[in-house]
Chain length 291, copies 2
């Protein structure tokens, strides 16, 4: 709040004009949870199951066989190549509109295996309040995530109040074509951009075109975004969410394969980044559900 | 105005909620002029002249020799390859921040060879009013241009009221790096994306993530953007600016190398696109200048 006061008070030396009040937020493990695996992987798994009837070859072909056998750890053991194959098979070969529809249906129905909540109910209540607070102070809030840009856009506006044009993420290549005479954006099985680590400042520059004054993340995948943001002139804010709450959420950091936070913890102090200790600092983790 | 009434009146069957009121505008030849050559080419030429002292080899090397001899037609005669070489030599090998600074200085000083105006004073007064009118009706206005995204962003906010994050354009690849310990986005001599023709709907999908309900252009490079926009459900508006005013501006269409408008003129009627006849329909072309 001290930071927000300084950048919004016209009399302050640190005053920042409204159009330059750009705040960027990582998504996985920062706005919503990311355990036991990234939620987008659960989506891919559900897609494999739904598509399996048309792909009898998947019964014996990895990584699909492991997915169909319910062996997620087996998929992860096959490394990045397996994940990319899984994403390509389940996220491409259809139009952006069809893909968005598939994602929407999934977010309205699929439930987290441990909490039984909809995935979009596994967002962090304090972060929702932070987004609201910044917007109430005329910040423009963006998501900058390693997750798929078109995987997030169908629900970020309803869940976070962040419209599609303020979502930056990883993407596949697309092409414009007429399908039965109707214009469509077709999703191709080729990586276009990976919005992670040093890719985050690149994605920010490409989509936003100016340097944020506030950045929030939870893993070393956000390190460069926070570095880029807080190295700018004037008042800057870097925020790291440390997952320390094994009871209400999950506890993980330096040794985690997902959301690994190591260098960030080492350097947060000297860089002046604020670290949230989830167990200590948050009264509430999840939003209350209606009835 | 009839279209705007329909999409903004809550009682109308064509009502469009505010977040979905997306309007996209081409830039060259649509918001500002593009003759006798794209203004970005004038910028590249001025950069070649400024950089020539450090590049003695350019005296004999094309396309630089033609540029230095003041022979722009010679450059254009060498086709797209020469243009790409010129862009790479003058637009890359520096940081985004340095590039933006260079563009800013240029827009504040360089003048059009025929009118003597600053290039940013060669914007169309009626289009400025249209942008204002749409925004007054809660439209979000975007530029979607074949021009360089980082060539436009340094001045679009001041000139059009369109902030950097609402500018979509062509781009070079970039990378994030520490230069003397300071984070920077470095511009690399490699094309990343060409935001023209079928690339425009792709760029719209990548940056905006939803289909516009209003699109405005002036050449066949905008055809797919208008096609994509106006094929959507509900009320849609496609607008083509036809350059018919050789006296106050320029007259060109089907045979022009720059801003060629041929298929658009043929199909505008059947597609329900509105064509502006600049000579007939516009009382004013250029904004009045303060002494």
């Amino acid at each position: 709040m001290d930071f927000v006061d300084r950048v919004t008070d016209e009399g302050s030396a640190d005053f920042v004009p409204i159009p330059e009040r750009i705040a960027t937020f990582d998504n996985d493990g920062n706005l919503w949870a990311e355990q036991p695996v990234y939620f987008q992987l659960f989506f891919a798994v559900d897609r494999v199951k739904a598509m399996a009837a048309d792909h009898s070859e998947w019964a014996t072909e990895e990584p699909f066989a492991s997915v169909l056998a319910g062996d997620l750890q087996g998929v992860l053991a096959n490394g990045e190549k397996a994940l990319v194959e899984l994403i390509m098979a389940t996220h491409t070969g259809l139009s952006s509109e069809e893909f968005a529809h598939t994602v929407k249906i999934w977010t309205e129905n699929a439930r987290h295996p441990e909490t039984g909540r909809l995935y979009t109910e596994m967002v962090y209540q304090p972060m929702l309040e932070l987004l609201d607070y910044l917007r109430a102070n005329d910040f423009k809030t963006f998501i900058v995530s390693g997750g798929g840009i078109e995987f997030m856009r169908p629900w970020t506006e309803a869940v976070y109040g962040i419209p599609p044009e303020q979502v930056v993420g990883s993407s596949v290549k697309t092409e414009y074509a007429l399908v039965d005479g109707e214009p469509a954006i077709l999703r191709l099985p080729e990586i276009n951009f990976i919005d992670d680590k040093a890719g985050k400042p690149v994605g920010i520059n490409q989509h936003i075109g100016r340097r944020p004054i506030f950045a929030s993340g939870n893993s070393d995948g956000d390190f460069q975004m926070l570095e880029y943001t807080t190295a700018g002139r004037g008042a800057r804010f870097g925020l790291l969410l440390h997952h320390t709450d094994a009871e209400r959420e999950w506890a993980y950091d330096r040794d985690s394969h997902i959301g690994r936070l190591d260098r960030g913890l080492d350097e947060a102090d000297e860089r002046g980044w604020v670290v949230i200790d989830m167990a200590e600092d948050w009264n509430t983790i999840w939003p209350e559900l209606d009835d």
